[in-house]
């Protein structure tokens, strides 16, 4: 007996009753990993030793496909990069192409783009809120978030006929002008929506269990965030100013008033707070943009075949719902991009997952993963 105890103390894993690390595959089919992300988790009991994200289950080589399509054709593929926030990716690609070719869309098109991108941000954050709450076990906020998101999708559908992949923001402008009843309907929605944000916050923000699960969990220090390329609301949750709309204003973001939402905490709760505040900011942004809408053309006149100047390149970035969305394009004088590279926020944000979850519990993986707001097609492209 004594020998046995001694061997246990000395031997650790080699002893008769030793413990062993084991590997759990979360995904690619798992109710908590949004889409087909696979996490190989090494665990000791409930404690996580290592989290290895395995990517590529949704890889469709969109960047390579873009190299074989003309610039306007590529827009359709950008919809599929981030299906929860398709407008942002549309915009990112359209802006990059316009900058590459020196095009300037008319003001009405720019304001319309801002309206739709900000509405898209609200819709994306709403879906995120629901999914995040669902990850940590509260199933009801998901339905609340979707209820309001549905109204936004109705507005989109009214304008461009689509609810998920819009293909609305085109090179040189937008696809089609809004209907006359769009503006009153949009305002009515915003008036209806603003009190609802308070409703979500009432349900979640200071819920003791929610606080317990999210406060202090998944701490990203500012240095760690910057070093690992975390961006967007996830980095702003650590108190680092990184909003591209402020730093490098595109469209007319320099002509509207909004504050960059920063929270000092760096934990899941701060990231949640940042996104909830961003929803409010976006509401005010949409209102301002609607005020500034004036009649006019919605498209610039484009040449019949859109060709980039020879040996030209551009890296253009915007603030998508998930963070910095960069498009790198190389033109070679033909109608097709020589090289296209999408820099997606989800991909770089997923990178910190391992560091954030080491030593924490299995359930914290879900909370952290949810709070980073990653979308698998954007990771894999």
């Amino acid at each position: 007996m004594t020998d046995l105890l001694l061997s246990q103390i000395k031997g650790g894993n080699e002893s008769q009753f030793g413990t062993d690390e084991y590997v759990v595959n979360l995904g690619p089919q798992h109710p908590a990993t949004h889409g087909v992300l696979r996490l190989v988790v090494k665990m000791d009991g409930e404690t996580v030793k290592e989290t290895i994200p395995v990517l590529g289950y949704l890889h469709r080589s969109i960047e390579k496909i873009c190299e074989n399509r003309t610039y306007p054709q590529c827009i359709t593929y950008t919809d599929r990069v981030d299906y929860v926030s398709a407008m942002s990716v549309n915009l990112a690609f359209a802006l990059a192409t316009e900058r590459l070719m020196g095009l300037e869309p008319p003001p009405r098109a720019q304001w319309l783009r801002m309206v739709f991108v900000e509405l898209q941000r609200i819709a994306s954050h709403l879906l995120w809120m629901g999914a995040f709450a669902g990850d940590i076990g509260a199933l009801t906020p998901f339905l609340y978030g979707l209820r309001e998101r549905e109204r936004i999708l109705d507005l989109f559908e009214m304008t461009c006929g689509q609810r998920l992949t819009y293909n609305y923001i085109r090179i040189g402008g937008v696809m089609i002008d809004i209907l006359p009843e769009f503006v009153p309907k949009c305002r009515a929605f915003l008036d209806y929506f603003e009190p609802k944000i308070a409703e979500y916050e009432e349900l979640l923000t200071y819920n003791p269990i929610f606080l317990e699960r999210t406060r202090g969990v998944g701490l990203i220090s500012p240095e760690m965030g910057i070093n690992n390329g975390v961006c967007g609301p996830s980095l702003r949750g650590s108190g680092v100013a990184c909003d591209v709309r402020k730093q490098q204003p595109y469209l007319y973001y320099d002509q509207v008033k909004f504050t960059e939402c920063l929270e000092p905490g760096g934990d899941c709760w701060s990231r949640y707070r940042v996104r909830m505040r961003e929803i409010r900011e976006s509401v005010s942004l949409v209102r301002q943009c609607l005020d500034r809408l004036e009649p006019g053309p919605i498209e610039t006149k484009l040449p019949p075949i859109l060709k980039a100047p020879p040996a030209s390149e551009i890296y253009s970035r915007i603030e998508s719902s998930r963070g910095e969305m960069g498009i790198y394009l190389v033109g070679d004088g033909t109608a097709k991009p020589y090289k296209a590279k999408f820099r997606c926020a989800s991909f770089s944000n997923t990178y910190v997952l391992d560091q954030l979850t080491r030593g924490w519990k299995l359930a914290d993986i879900m909370a952290v993963l949810g709070s980073l707001d990653m979308i698998v097609p954007e990771v894999d492209r």
Partner: protein
């Protein structure tokens, strides 16, 4: 005519028939079998109603409509689901441990179902009013932990195993505050018989309206945890462990676990109603209605179950270590203090000091 008399009349009638058929020798077998069949029929129907109710409650809380296609108000939806589960293929993992894998769902169901034996639905309407009823319920319902643990172990699945271990830790931890919350009641009433506890409340205030309200909240919290319901549903946490201990179960076996979980909710709510809410007694200010005690009991039961459902659809899930902390560091100290305080009050009132 009270419920007790109806039951007695029916029993006398059956005994008479049996006697006429010359089978009075097997009455001692027929009686329990009939009781079990009646109880099972009642419970099955009630569970079906509860599943429907849970869907409607959750739908209402999530601003949805809920089931409304099968039958009036979707009442037959659960029947359709039950039929689906029964005729579904029973998918079994190849490397399972056959015996525990097969026994676990049965045990999960039987252990909770056996708890119904001592629940008094009305004065006299009880299968067996044991003089150690409370102790019996606590003991028999803890058997579920064995069922869940063996289900998790025998499935040969890491998620199921984790779920089983979580469940074992959780049920064992929450058993303590559960029992401790009932101790003051036993001290006050001096009986473990559930009928006796209700009788005591008929003469005094209900325990929920006395200083034992705190015990009620401890009991409801611990009972929710015992039944693996959200926010304490970590053994089957969907977003972490897929289905937890019942990941590898399908068809009838899954239905047994499902049934077991709902019966566990019914049993613990029934105990809460009996012990804290005056069982079959009418509400103090509605006594003039002269409704049968059974109706009062069921109304209170549905109310308590509604509370548990409302918890489920509003709260996020606790993490496993936070759950343990909450049980050991919050609930148990409060429960022990409550026991001490109650003892002190009893001593003072009886002038024993």
């Amino acid at each position: 005519m009270t419920g007790e008399k109806i039951i007695q009349t029916i029993a006398a009638f059956i005994h008479q028939i049996l006697g006429a058929a010359g089978l009075s020798g097997i009455i001692f077998i027929i009686d329990p079998v009939l009781c079990a069949v009646a109880m099972f029929g009642f419970i099955s129907l009630f569970v079906m109603f509860l599943v429907w109710m849970e869907r409607k409650v959750s739908a209402h809380m999530q601003s949805r409509i809920g089931p409304n296609r099968v039958g009036i108000f979707g009442l037959l939806q659960t029947v359709a689901d039950a039929v689906k589960l029964t005729i579904k293929e029973d998918v079994k993992p190849i490397h399972r441990d056959v015996i525990p894998y097969t026994i676990a769902p049965i045990l999960a169901f039987v252990a909770t179902f056996a708890g119904m034996v001592v629940i008094p639905f009305d004065k006299g309407i009880v299968v067996q009013d044991l003089n150690i009823g409370l102790l019996y319920i606590i003991a028999i319902t803890s058997f579920t932990v064995i069922a869940i643990l063996s289900a998790g172990w025998s499935s040969n699945n890491k998620f199921a195993l984790l779920g089983g271990f979580r469940s074992a830790a959780q049920i064992v931890s929450y058993e303590v505050p559960l029992v401790l919350s009932l101790v003051p009641i036993i001290m006050t009433t001096g009986t473990l018989r559930l009928g006796g506890i209700v009788d005591y409340q008929a003469g005094h205030r209900w325990f929920i309206f006395s200083q034992q309200a705190i015990a009620f909240f401890i009991f409801i919290t611990a009972a929710t945890a015992e039944a693996n319901r959200a926010p304490f549903d970590i053994p089957e946490a969907e977003s972490e462990l897929i289905g937890g201990f019942h990941t590898e179960y399908s068809g009838v076996k899954f239905a047994m676990f499902f049934l077991g979980e709902y019966i566990a909710v019914i049993v613990s709510s029934a105990v809460a109603v009996t012990v804290f809410l005056g069982g079959w007694l009418p509400l103090p200010f509605l006594g003039f209605l002269h409704l049968p005690g059974f109706v009062w009991f069921m109304a209170k039961l549905v109310f308590v179950i509604y509370l548990i459902m409302a918890f489920r659809w509003t709260f996020p899930r606790l993490r496993v270590d936070q759950l343990m902390d909450f049980g050991w560091k919050v609930l148990i100290p409060i429960a022990i203090l409550n026991v001490l305080a109650t003892g002190f009050v009893i001593l003072l009132l009886e002038g024993g000091v």
